[in-house]
Every structure is written in C-alpha cells, then in structure tokens.
C-alpha cells in the first residue's frame, strides 16, 4: 500500500510532510484554517514569501466555516458604515473569479427578502436604498404576483419582496479545501492538527510554539475564529472578546430539490437576518440558522427548541417545509466580537495582526478580507515581490454522475477506479473517494465534505465502511485507526479478544 501513497505523492496530490525542524525564518504564520485563513494564505502565495498556516483540527474549514450557511450575500444587508458593510459587497464581486480559478461550485441564484405585512415594507425599502447607495446591482422590489410566479411554493400571504440577483451559494467547506489546496500547490506549508501553545516576540521576530514544534516568523495573523481572543492573549495583544453565537441548521431531503430556488430571507429585525430557506449549491434545501449566544466555544449541540424555532419560523413563509424531511442537523458558532463588526488590523504588538470577529457576512467578505490583509502587511513593512510561477488553478475533480453516459463509459474504460459506486445516496464513485484522499482527506468527515459521500439520506450507513476501507488502504493504517474527524473521534475498535488487546487500545 505504500506504493499507492508514493504514486499519489509523485503526482503532487499529497501535501509534503512538514519537516520536523524549520530553522529558517518565516514571513507569515497564519493561525486558523477557516475560510478567512485559507483565503489569506492563497493570496499570500502569489508573492515570494514563506508562509505557514496552522490549523488545530484535522482539516481546514472544520471549525466555524464548515457549518456556514454557504450564502454569498447580495451585498446590501450590512450597514455601509461598518467594516463588514464595505467588505461584503467587495467580497461578493470576487467570488466569480475565485470559483472559476479553483473550480468549486458557485451559483448566483438570487435572494428574496419577503414582506408579510405592511409594516415590513419600509424595512425592505431601507434595504433597497442602502444597497443602491453601496452600488449593489440589480436590486428590485417584486410584487406579490411576481413572487408567486417565481416561487410558487412560498406562502400566499407574502405581499412583496426585495429581489437581489447578486446573491449566490457555495459549499463553504469546498471553498476552504480549494483555497488551501491551491495555496499548498503554490508553496504554503499547511499544518493541520497543530495547536498554538504560545507566542513571544523578541527582536522583531515572533516565536510560535505549537504542538508540533516552534516556528519563527516576522508576522503572525490571528484568524483563529472562536479562539482569536485566546490567541490575542497569548501574543500579549490588547484584549479581544469573542462571543460565540450558535446557529442551528437543518438539511432537508433532496426530494425537495426545486421546491424553492432562491435564498429566502424573512423581513430582518434590527438584531438578526432571521431564519432562512437556503437552496444549497448541491440542490438540497437547508433551513436555519438560529442565533443564540453561548458560553462554550465548543458547544455544537442542536436542540429540540432550536428545531422548533427554525421550523415554526420558516413555515410562516414556506408552508411546504416540514421536520419530516430532515436528513441532517448541525450547529455552528459565529465568532462575534464586541460591537458585532469585523476586527481587522495591526495591534500594539508589532507584527501581530487580528482578523477576528468574522461573523456574517464573513464568507462573502473572505476574498476581500484577504486582499485587505495583504495591503496591511505591505503597510507594516512586508515586501511583496510577485511570483512569476503562481498557478491560480486546480485540476478539476471528476463528478461522475454529472457526466454524460458516453463520458462515463469512456472514463470507466480508461480508469477502473470509476467502476464502483461507493455512496448510493449521492452517487459517488470509488474514484472520487480516492481523489479526495489524494487531495488531503484523512478522515470520514474529510471525505464527506470533499465528495458528499455520507451526506445524503442514509448519512453514511452504506458508504462509511467502504470509505474506512479505502482510507485504511491509502493511508496505510489499520481499519480501526480511521476516525470521523481526527483526535478522539474513533469509529471502531478491535475485537475484545484479550485483556492485552483492550488495554493496548485505551
């Protein structure tokens, strides 16, 4: 099985193992491999820099980004006077090029913010004028008839809606994987399952103590999301308070594909955009998120109350949606800073830059944030010499089931890996699973979020054992060493044939 690994590596599909010691001085260490950290990393690899990205989870995007709603917001929702308000529209416009370069799915499906009563109309008017003032294109008030014709499954009680054609959807984790993979191909040193333990500054050089050794760098970017307050404290930077705010989301069976085709926002209240109906990039409907402050930055529990809140709220304007169709539920935590705005900028600790408090519309803004951070680094004295060998693209992954029958026949003939169905719900072939492993998936969740295998109706009942076998074979590890998402998330243990064996596994 080592041969299989070697061949993957020779094709450049597996990241090079990180050297144990790294004597040289890095230019930038990014802490946090969410969509923001990954976007920054990729932007920095355009220049002749030594950049390292540290992620405590086993994969990039496995914190807040993974549970993101996946909406590229239209550009008109946030107050233009705020930091996020400006970056929202700027970021929105960058997604087409990013998706084209990296080959991930992105569709501008548009959104409707609906009015259910006369009282909602001034709010919509205000959103419209705010958006127009920002330069958001295509905003338009729709009549009830127009809404009914476009979205016949919405409530008949809707009296008007604001349509924003600029709103799009992506799979947030896919964006992370592609950004990180592109960065790695352009020289990023990506270290997953690496926790930052300490930060110290001496003679203008930062020492970053990690669970995998100490790194030295000129700049430290704090993109640690929910933990950016802790990182700021380690760096001795001014206090940064992060308040986790939970959002529960419910994913519905794909039989509802096409039931609603645009992102639907209820009329927003001053504190929240409300609970939405989101047609995901893959065509499944998702409803959520809730918004409740929690203390514990690791609390990803869903609740009966959250489910009730989501469904009762959504059924007011989308009566065809019901809990019976739920195939998956999950929760994510927004990393909200005081004042509810993004905190982006240098600190009193020279070379330590915060990119924190990135809540909605953080995904939308991420590409714009990356550009802003590059500008900040330049202002702080980092020389930016462009590389002439930067490769913006990625090899396109195969989506077997979207190929024509002729192309499927041809591919299966040429490559026997495309002759086995590994996931029966989402129709993912063994070849696609192997490709995901080659591109860095090390766990069941790593495969699931790269390929959708395990994300469908049976939630892995069929494919999990197959994926575990493939992971064990390709990574050359025992079947029982395969985890759901790294750390202690083991899936199976060896038979309890003797005391020794049991003890050895504890």
């Amino acid at each position: 099985m080592l041969c299989a690994r070697r061949s993957l590596r020779s094709r450049g599909l597996v990241a090079r193992p990180a050297p144990v010691t790294m004597p040289e001085l890095l230019d930038v260490v990014i802490i946090g491999g969410g969509v923001v950290g990954c976007a920054i990393a990729r932007e920095l690899t355009r220049y002749r820099l030594r950049v390292c990205l540290l992620e405590k989870e086993c994969d990039v995007g496995f914190g807040t980004s993974k549970a993101n709603s996946g909406i590229i917001h239209g550009g008109h929702h946030s107050d233009p006077r705020s930091v996020k308000g400006g970056l929202e529209w700027e970021g929105n416009q960058l997604w087409d090029a990013l998706a084209a370069d990296l080959g991930f799915g992105f569709k501008r499906i548009g959104e409707l913010t609906i009015a259910l009563s006369e009282a909602d109309l001034p709010v919509l008017e205000n959103l419209l004028s705010r958006g127009r003032a920002k330069g958001v294109t295509g905003l338009e008030m729709w009549t009830a008839e127009h809404v009914r014709a476009a979205e016949p499954n919405l409530s008949q009680d809707i009296i008007a809606a604001l349509h924003a054609p600029t709103t799009g959807v992506v799979n947030p984790y896919e964006a992370c994987f592609c950004l990180a993979e592109s960065a790695v191909r352009n020289g990023l040193d990506l270290r997953t399952e690496t926790t930052v333990l300490g930060l110290s500054l001496a003679d203008g050089i930062w020492a970053v103590d990690t669970s995998g050794g100490t790194l030295h760098t000129r700049f430290v970017l704090n993109a640690a999301g929910l933990f950016s307050g802790d990182i700021a404290a380690l760096a001795g930077a001014p206090a940064l308070a992060i308040h986790p705010r939970k959002g529960e989301e419910y994913l519905l069976d794909k039989r509802l594909q096409g039931h609603i085709t645009r992102v639907i926002f209820p009329c927003p209240s001053p504190v929240s955009k409300g609970i939405l109906v989101i047609p995901t990039y893959d065509g499944t409907l998702m409803v959520g998120p809730t918004a409740h402050s929690v203390e514990d930055p690791l609390d990803l529990t869903t609740s009966a109350a959250g489910s009730d809140e989501v469904f009762s709220s959504v059924q007011r304007f989308a009566p065809g949606i019901c809990p019976r169709d739920v195939i998956a539920q999950f929760a994510g935590l927004r990393a909200a800073a005081d004042g509810d705005d993004f905190v982006i900028g240098p600190t009193s600790q020279k070379g330590f830059i915060n990119i924190a408090g990135i809540q909605s519309p953080g995904l939308t803004a991420a590409p714009a944030i990356a550009l802003r951070v590059v500008g900040l680094l330049r202002d702080e004295g980092l020389g930016l010499a462009p590389r002439d060998d930067f490769a913006p693209g990625l090899p396109a992954p195969v989506h077997f089931m979207s190929l024509s029958t002729e192309a499927q026949i041809e591919l299966a003939e040429r490559d026997p890996r495309y002759r086995r169905m590994s996931c029966r719900c989402e129709f993912i072939t063994e070849g696609e699973i192997l490709d995901a492993i080659g591109r860095g998936a090390k766990t069941l969740d790593g495969i699931k979020f790269r390929t959708r295998a395990g994300m469908g109706r049976c939630q892995g009942g069929f494919c999990a054992a197959r994926c575990m076998e493939l992971l064990a074979r390709e990574l050359d590890i025992p079947f029982t060493d395969v985890t759901k998402r790294g750390g202690g998330s083991w899936v199976a243990i060896p038979r309890l044939t003797g005391v020794a064996q049991e003890a050895s596994h504890d």
Binding site: I327, Y418, G461
Partner: protein, 425 residues
C-alpha cells in the same frame, strides 16, 4: 464464497434484476422457472446475498425452507438455487439507471459502464436504516452514533467493534439482535430505549436477545440529548408522556461511548425515483399491482424496496410472484388486469399490493398502526354494502399481517374499491 460471475454480459436480457439480496435472487429464479431465458442479477457487494450476509444469527427460513437457517445460509441457498437455474449473477456492480426504453445502465468492476437491453426489470434494492437525523435527536454530533445495521456490519463483516459500552435507541429487530451480538462480544449493552409503550421488534427477539441476557428494555423512553465532543460520552434519556413528549424533569444520564439507532427501515428507492415511478407515501416504496408490477409496464418490484418485511421468508414469497410475472412479461405475456383498488382504512398503516383481482388468489400484506387485542380485519366496499370480517387474536405494528384474499371471499363483492380496516371486535 459462491462465485459465478458471467464472463461477459449479453447484449439483451429477458429480465434484469437490480439488487441481489433474497428478493432479487428469488425473483431471478422465478423468472427462469417461468421460462425467461436470460436473467441477470446485478448486486453491488462483492458477493450477492444482500444484508443477510451480515445477519449471522439463526432464525431464517422456517417458512420458506421449513428449517432454521442463519442469514448467510439462507442467502447461500437462494444464490445457489439461482445459479443452478442458469441465472447470471453480476456482483460488485451497480444498476445506475433504467432508461425509458428499459435499457439498463450498469456500472461493474469488471465491465465498466455499459448499457444492456432488458425486456423486463425487477427492482429489489432493499432498504436502508432510518438515521439519527430522521428523528432529530438533539445534542452534540460526536463519533459513535450509528445505525444498528452499520454496527452489525462492523462486527460481523469487518471483525471489529463499534464501542465498549453501548446504549440502543429503538427496539427494532436489528437493534435487538445487536444487543445480544455485542454482549457475546464482551461489549456492555446498558439498555434499549423505546419511545413507544410497546416493543418494535418481534417478540421472539425481545425474549431471546434482551431477557435472556438481562438487558433492560425501557419502554416509553427516549434519548433527549447526545453528549461528547469527539466521541459519545453519555446520553440523556427521559420517559415520555402520553403524547410522546419527553418529561425532562425525570431524565437521567446513561454513560456510554456508543449510541446505536434502531428506529426502522426505509425502502431504498433512489432508482425508483430516478425512473419517476409512482411511490406510496406511507411505505415509501413503489405502488404495485397484484403481479408486483410498478407504474411502469414491465418493471416489477419485490422485497423491502416495496415495503418493509419482518421475515425474509415472506420476501421470498413476494419475489416469487414478481419474478414469475417479470419472466412472463419478458415473453410477451402481460399480467392480467386487476379490477379492485385496495386502500388502508382504520388502524391500517398500509397494504400491499395496491390493487387486486376478484378472479385470483392473493396474499395481501398489511401493517397496523397500533397494537390491538381481540380484533377483526374487515374488508368493505366503499358503499358499505359488502363487508367480510376475519378474526385475529392480537395485532402489532411490528408484525406484518398476511391476509389471504380470494374469489370465494369476494364472491358477493361488486365494485372497484376495497378498504381494509382493523377494528376491535
């Protein structure tokens, strides 16, 4: 392992069967016996036999083979019978689509992606398990929450264990079987928790898998919270009131590293949906007539893909019917028309088939919604002028009812719709 892969696929088959479990293999055999020349079974596993291959316990075949067999023994027999009758069995393959002209798109480890022609098709893809999400168990999402069937696969096919201390939600048969299996493997099974006031599995499994091993069964109790970050650390369970709402004030914690979910099966109809077959919203399987033919001519269905069976023996009986008619259809003989629609009435969840003929003998399979003692199964016409009753001692949702319906029973019936109720006597 019984091996028999056809060296090459033929261009045209009389009958192609999607799914090589007991339903598909039984249908293929019946199609051959009905005179179909070329019959192909497509199965996605390395070896055909379906889910029976991981059901290593005994208790199968008492009706069909008149002796008690293990799952793999039962599967082996139906596979051998099919092969001996000249059925082609293509394992490690997958039926991707059945095109409107009945060409079938196959994916096979040996043959790649190919289109083959079929004169008739049988759908026998079986079922999948309902998951945690289907009942929205709140709480964290650590590793260690898995369906009982996946655990069964881990133990019986992969040779490893799902955990050391296991709680089981739902008293479906697979969960009960796994309670015993895991206990025998040295795993501690801390209890089975069932939302309903009665068990959902067969009574013999309650006795043989739980009572004999002193595993507690908590009725009217459910899991209200899953705890643990990386791996399950405990679950909170609570009794439910008469409206099945958890009484949180009486909740208690159950330390465990694994939660098995055994809350029922759903027919696996990816392919049926793709083909736009008419589906029954209650069974989630295709609507079928008394020849087990779906809404598309020449496409038949049998086994758990149509409705969930408790016993494989009845799957085999249903497969015999579907396969025979598929075999005849391939030779140009259409099943006779049905003249009566069948509908589920009071305390009847569903009945299969969805139509029948007053001219022939039929077995109607039905399931009640709630248990009832001293009851009567009533067939009645929509105008109420015709009724016929059949007494039954007690009925349970967990036990499928087989009702023989024939011309004699219906001799005074005139009309085009029959309703089935299960009523107190």
């Amino acid at each position: 392992m019984i091996s028999s892969k056809p060296a090459h696929l033929q261009g045209v088959y009389d009958v192609v069967v999607a799914g090589g479990g007991p339903a598909g293999l039984g249908a293929a055999l019946a199609a051959r016996e009905a005179g179909a020349e070329r019959v192909l079974v497509v199965d996605r596993e390395k070896e055909a036999g379906g889910i029976l291959l991981q059901c290593i316990h005994a208790g199968f075949g008492l009706h069909h083979f008149k002796e008690e067999l293990t799952g793999p023994e039962y599967a082996g027999r139906v596979l051998r019978e099919a092969l001996e009758h000249g059925v082609d069995v293509l394992s490690d393959a997958y039926a991707l689509d059945v095109l409107p002209d009945k060409r079938i798109k196959l994916m096979s480890a040996e043959h790649g992606v190919t289109l083959i022609e079929a004169r008739a098709a049988v759908l026998s893809m079986g079922a999948r398990e309902r998951t945690r999400a289907a009942i929205r168990i709140p709480g964290a999402r650590p590793a260690g929450v898995l369906t009982a069937g996946f655990a069964q696969r881990l133990v019986n096919l992969q040779g490893c264990l799902p955990g050391r201390r296991v709680a089981i939600l739902g008293s479906g048969d697979i969960g009960l079987i796994m309670a015993r299996r895991l206990t025998l493997e040295g795993v501690e099974v801390v209890g089975v928790f069932e939302l309903m006031p009665y068990a959902n599995g067969l009574n013999r499994n309650i006795v043989q898998c739980l009572r004999d091993f002193d595993i507690p069964l908590h009725l009217s109790t459910t899991v209200v919270q899953v705890h643990g970050r990386e791996r399950v650390e405990k679950v909170t369970v609570a009794p439910v009131d008469d409206h099945l709402k958890p009484v949180l004030s009486k909740a208690w914690d159950v330390p465990c590293d694994t939660l098995l979910v055994s809350i029922g099966l759903i027919p696996e109809n990816e392919l049926s949906r793709q083909m736009n077959l008419r589906l029954d919203p209650v069974t989630n399987g295709p609507v079928v007539n008394s020849a087990m033919e779906t809404s598309r001519d020449g496409v038949f269905a049998c086994g758990n893909v149509v409705h969930i069976h408790d016993l494989v023996d009845f799957v085999s009986a249903e497969a015999g019917l579907a396969g025979r008619w598929a075999g005849l259809a391939a030779q140009g003989r259409r099943p006779p028309e049905d003249n009566v629609r069948l509908s589920a009435g009071e305390n009847v969840g569903y009945c299969v088939p969805h139509s029948l003929s007053t001219e022939r003998e039929h077995t109607v399979y039905l399931r009640v919604r709630k248990p009832m003692e001293q009851s009567v199964i009533r067939l009645s016409s929509s105008d109420g002028r015709f009724t016929v009753d059949k007494k039954v001692r007690y009925v349970f949702p967990a036990e499928m009812i087989n009702l023989k319906v024939g011309p004699r029973m219906l001799q005074n019936f005139h009309g085009d719709a029959l309703r089935i109720d299960v009523l107190p006597r």
